[in-house]
C-alpha cells in the first residue's frame, strides 16, 4: 500500500504550500487531476524522490521511504517526454532499467527481445531514440519501466500527444500491469485516460 500523508511542499516564494494526502492499494490506479500548475508534476517528483518535501511522509508497505534516494524507492517514472538517453540504443536504454551497469544475462536479453516484440518494436533494438516517433519512444520508456519490475509506476502525462493507436496500445499495457498487481499513480489531463485506467481520482 502506498500512503501519502500530509506531504507538504512549496517552491521558494510560493505563498500557499501544497499538501498531498492519498492512499492506493497494489493493483490499483489513482489518477491525479488538476489544472496546469496545480502541483501534479511536483507530486510525481516528490514521490520519485527528485524533490524533498518540507514535511509529511510517504509510506510503502507501512514503512517510510521519505528519506530514501530515488534508486532505493520502489518506483519507476515515465514522463511525457525525455525519458530516454538519446545517445544510447533502444536496447541499452531498456537494459539500464534491468541493470544500471548494463551487465545483462542471456535471460535479461531475451526478456528485452520479447518485450520489444510485445510493443511492436522488435526490429528497433539497435536504433537510437532520435530515430523513433513519439509513440515509439513512449513504448520503449514504458517497456523499460515494466521490465524494471518495480511495484509502483509513476506516470506523468505519459500518453499526451500520442496518436490513438499508440494510446490504445499503451493503455492496454498499463491495464495488464495493473492486473498483475502494479500500483499506478497517473497524472493526466485526459479524461478518457482516467476513465480507462483509474480506480480513483485525486483532484488538486
Amino acid at each position: 500500500m502506498l500512503e501519502v500523508k500530509n506531504l507538504v511542499f512549496a517552491y521558494p516564494g510560493q505563498k500557499a504550500p501544497w499538501n498531498f494526502n492519498f492512499t492506493v492499494m497494489p493493483g490499483q490506479c489513482i489518477a491525479i487531476h488538476g489544472a496546469s500548475g496545480s502541483g501534479k508534476s511536483t507530486l510525481m517528483n516528490l514521490l520519485a524522490g527528485f524533490l524533498e518535501p518540507q514535511s509529511g511522509d510517504i509510506l510503502w508497505q507501512d514503512k517510510s521511504i521519505r528519506n530514501h534516494a530515488p534508486w532505493q524507492r520502489p518506483m519507476t517514472s515515465v514522463f511525457q517526454e525525455h525519458n530516454l538517453f538519446e545517445h544510447l540504443s533502444v536496447e541499452a536504454n531498456i537494459g539500464l532499467g534491468i541493470h544500471p551497469g548494463l551487465k545483462l544475462t542471456q535471460e535479461n536479453q531475451h526478456a528485452i527481445e520479447l518485450g520489444l516484440q510485445s510493443v511492436g518494436l522488435s526490429s528497433f533494438g539497435s536504433r537510437l531514440p532520435g530515430d523513433l516517433s513519439g509513440g515509439q519512444r513512449q513504448r520503449v520508456a514504458l517497456l523499460r519501466a515494466i521490465l524494471r519490475q518495480q511495484p509502483v509506476l509513476l506516470l506523468d502525462e505519459p500518453l499526451t500527444g500520442l496518436d490513438s493507436d499508440a494510446r490504445d496500445l499503451l493503455r492496454q499495457l498499463l491495464l495488464e500491469q495493473k492486473s498483475q498487481g502494479t500500483l499506478i499513480v497517473l497524472a493526466s489531463h485526459d479524461q478518457e485516460d482516467r476513465q480507462v485506467l483509474a480506480d480513483s481520482v485525486c483532484s488538486l
Binding site: 524522490g49 534508486w71 525525455h82 545517445h87 541499452a92 541493470h99 518495480q150
Partner: protein
C-alpha cells in the same frame, strides 16, 4: 508483486567518491602552491625591499617587464580587434575554418619553436629583414624589445581575435537582425552590437594576455638580446642558475606574483565570467555580410596580411627544418643509435604524456567535485585551486619548490618528476575550461532518470559521461600533453643541459647559432604535436558511428575501458 533486489551497488556510487578526490586534488594544488611560495619567503633571506627601487638592475627589470607586457597587450588587441570584426563580417569564405583552427595554434605551438620561425623571417638573415632593409631603407633589429613584442603579438593576437570573435558571434541573433534591418553602418553596428558583446570579455582577455606576456620566458630568453631587455622571469632564472642568489629570485618572484595576482583580482572584480578559451566548434553565424565589393576586398586584403603574418614563420620552420631532418637523425650519415634528437624526444614524451594525463585526471576529479550539490566553501575551493596556476606563474612555483626540495632534490630524474607535476598544473586551467561544458551537459531529466535507475558512480561515468566526454577528453589530453611538450620554463630550471628535452635542445641550438639544426628540431616538435593531436583525435572517435550499437547490451557485458 515483490520488490526485486536493488542494484544499488554501482562501484564508486557513494557521493563521497565524487566529492573527496577532487577536493583532495584541489587541496594538494593549493598546498603545493603555498609550499612553493612559503619556501620563497621562509627559506631565503629576502633582501631589503628597498632594493627594488635602489638597485638599478632590479628597477629596470620590473619596469621593462611591465612595459613590454603593456605594449604586447595593446598591439595584440589592436591587431585582434579588426581581425575578429572582419571574420564576423565575413562568415563564409574558403579556408575560414582552417584559419580559425590556425589561430588556436598559439595555444600549443611551443614558443621556442615559434621563435626559431620568427628568427628565420625577421632575424638578421630573415626574409622580412632583407626586404625591409633593401626596399624600405629601415634598419630592423629583431633582438630586444622589437622581437619580444613581435613574438608576443604573433602568439597572442590570433588567440585574442579568436576569443573576441566568439564574443561578437555570441551577440543575440535578434540584435543582429534588428541592426541588419535598420541598415546600420559599421560604426553604429560596432556601437550597438559588437562593443556590448565584447565588453565583458575584454578585462579577462587583457589580463590573460598581459599575464602571458608578463611571465613570458622562452621568448625573452631567446630574443631579449641583453640585460636591457630582461624580464622578471628571466631574471629569476638567471639569479638561480648563474648568480645563485635565491633571495633576489624570491624577491622578484614575489613582485611577479603580486602584480599578476593584483591584475587577476582586478579582472575578477569586473566579472570574469566569459570564456577565455576558443570554442572548439567552428563559429559561423549565417547572417549576410551585407558589405560592398570594395569593403569586402579591403577585408580580404587585411585578412591576407594577417594570414601572411601567421604563416610566414611556420613556412620558414618547414622550409629550413626539412633539409636538416636527415642530419638530425643520422648525424654521421648513418643512424648512430642514440642521436640527440631521439633522446630529447623520448625525454620530452616521458614528461609530457604523464603531465597531460595528470592534468586531465585532476580536471575531471575537480569538476566532479564541483558538481556535487551543496555549494559549500569546500567546493568553491576547487575552483580557486583550478585557476591558481594562472595567478602563480610556473617559474615562481618552480623557484619555490626548487628551494623547498633543494637539499633532497638529488638526481635529475627527481627534477623531471617535479617538472611533470608543474607542467600538469600549468595545463590545468586550460584543460578544465575544455571539459567543463561537456561534463555539465547531462540535463536535469537525464540526471533524474539515471538517479532513479541507479545509474550511479562508475556506471554513470561509463554509460552517460564517457560517450559525451570521450572526444573533448581526447582533445584536452592532446592540449595538456602539447603544452607540456613545448614547455621551456620550468625545465630550464630543473633540467640538466646534458639531458635536454626538445625545447631545451632547440634553445641550445639557437644559442650556438645552429639555425638549421634548430629549425629541424622545431619542425620535428611540430610534427610530434601534430601526430599527438591526430592520435588523440583518433582515440576520441568512437570505433563505429551509427546508433551506439557497440554499446548495446548484446555485445557489452563488461565496461570496456574508460
Amino acid at each position: 508483486m515483490s520488490t526485486p533486489i536493488r542494484h544499488s551497488a554501482a562501484p564508486f556510487s557513494q557521493p563521497g567518491w565524487r566529492l573527496w578526490p577532487g577536493l583532495a586534488i584541489a587541496s594538494a594544488l593549493i598546498v603545493l602552491a603555498m609550499a612553493g611560495l612559503g619556501a620563497l619567503v621562509w627559506e631565503t633571506s629576502l633582501p631589503d625591499m628597498s632594493q627594488l627601487w635602489r638597485s638599478r638592475y632590479l628597477r629596470t627589470v620590473v619596469i621593462f617587464t611591465a612595459w613590454q607586457a603593456f605594449l604586447s597587450v595593446a598591439l595584440s588587441l589592436l591587431v585582434a580587434l579588426p581581425v575578429a570584426r572582419i571574420l564576423a563580417r565575413q562568415p563564409a569564405f574558403p579556408g575560414r575554418a582552417v584559419l580559425l583552427r590556425l589561430m588556436e595554434l598559439s595555444l600549443v605551438l611551443p614558443s621556442i619553436v615559434a621563435v626559431s620561425g620568427l628568427v628565420s623571417v625577421y632575424g638578421r638573415q630573415g626574409w622580412f629583414t632583407g626586404f625591409a632593409n633593401d626596399w624600405l631603407g629601415a634598419s630592423w633589429n629583431l633582438y630586444g624589445i622589437n622581437g619580444i613584442v613581435l613574438a608576443h603579438v604573433f602568439f597572442n593576437a590570433p588567440l585574442a581575435a579568436r576569443i573576441l570573435l566568439q564574443g561578437i558571434e555570441g551577440a543575440p541573433a535578434s540584435q543582429r537582425r534588428v541592426a541588419a534591418q535598420l541598415g546600420l553602418g559599421r560604426w553604429w553596428y560596432w556601437r550597438a552590437v559588437e562593443w556590448p558583446a565584447i565588453k565583458p570579455v575584454l578585462p579577462g582577455l587583457a589580463a590573460l594576455v598581459f599575464t602571458l606576456c608578463f611571465t613570458s620566458f622562452a621568448i625573452v630568453m631567446t630574443l631579449g638580446g641583453g640585460p636591457a631587455a630582461t624580464t622578471i622571469e628571466v631574471a629569476i632564472y638567471q639569479s638561480l642558475r648563474f648568480e645563485f642568489d635565491a633571495g633576489q629570485a624570491a624577491l622578484l618572484a614575489m613582485v611577479q606574483l603580486f602584480i599578476c595576482g593584483f591584475l587577476w583580482w582586478l579582472a575578477a572584480r569586473r566579472g570574469l565570467t566569459a570564456s577565455l578559451l576558443p570554442d572548439r566548434r567552428v563559429a559561423a553565424h549565417r547572417s549576410k555580410a551585407g558589405s560592398s565589393v570594395w569593403a569586402r576586398i579591403c577585408d580580404g586584403a587585411a585578412l591576407g596580411l594577417f594570414v601572411l603574418f601567421l604563416l610566414m614563420p611556420l613556412i620558414a620552420i618547414f622550409l629550413r627544418g626539412l633539409p636538416g631532418m636527415g642530419a638530425a637523425f643520422f648525424p654521421q650519415g648513418s643512424f648512430s643509435g642514440n642521436p640527440a634528437l631521439l633522446d630529447a624526444t623520448l625525454r620530452s614524451l616521458a614528461i609530457a604524456l604523464p603531465a597531460g594525463l595528470m592534468s586531465v585526471s585532476a580536471a575531471l576529479l575537480i569538476l566532479a567535485s564541483g558538481s556535487v550539490g551543496a555549494k559549500s566553501a569546500l567546493t568553491r575551493l576547487t575552483s580557486v585551486a583550478a585557476y591558481l596556476p594562472l595567478m602563480v606563474p610556473p617559474l615562481v612555483l618552480g623557484t619555490g619548490l626548487f628551494l623547498l626540495f633543494r637539499p633532497s632534490l638529488g638526481s635529475s630524474n627527481q627534477g623531471l618528476i617535479l617538472v611533470t607535476l608543474i607542467n600538469a598544473m600549468m595545463a590545468l586551467p586550460f584543460v578544465l575550461q575544455m571539459l567543463r561544458g561537456p561534463m555539465g551537459s547531462l540535463d536535469l531529466g537525464s540526471r533524474q532518470q539515471a538517479d532513479q535507475l541507479g545509474v550511479l558512480g562508475w556506471y554513470r561515468w561509463r554509460w552517460l559521461h564517457w560517450p559525451r566526454l570521450r572526444r573533448p577528453l581526447a582533445l584536452a589530453m592532446a592540449y595538456g600533453t602539447g603544452l607540456s611538450l613545448g614547455d621551456f620554463g620550468v625545465i630550464a630550471l630543473f633540467g640538466s643541459p646534458g639531458h635536454p628535452t626538445l625545447p631545451v635542445l632547440l634553445y641550445q641550438q639557437l644559442g650556438s647559432y645552429r639555425i638549421d639544426a634548430a629549425a629541424a628540431t622545431g619542425l620535428w616538435l611540430i610534427l610530434i604535436l601534430l601526430a599527438l593531436f591526430s592520435l588523440f583525435n583518433r582515440l576520441g572517435t568512437p570505433a563505429r558511428k551509427p546508433g551506439w550499437t557497440t554499446n548495446s547490451p548484446r555485445t557489452v557485458t563488461e565496461p570496456e575501458h574508460a
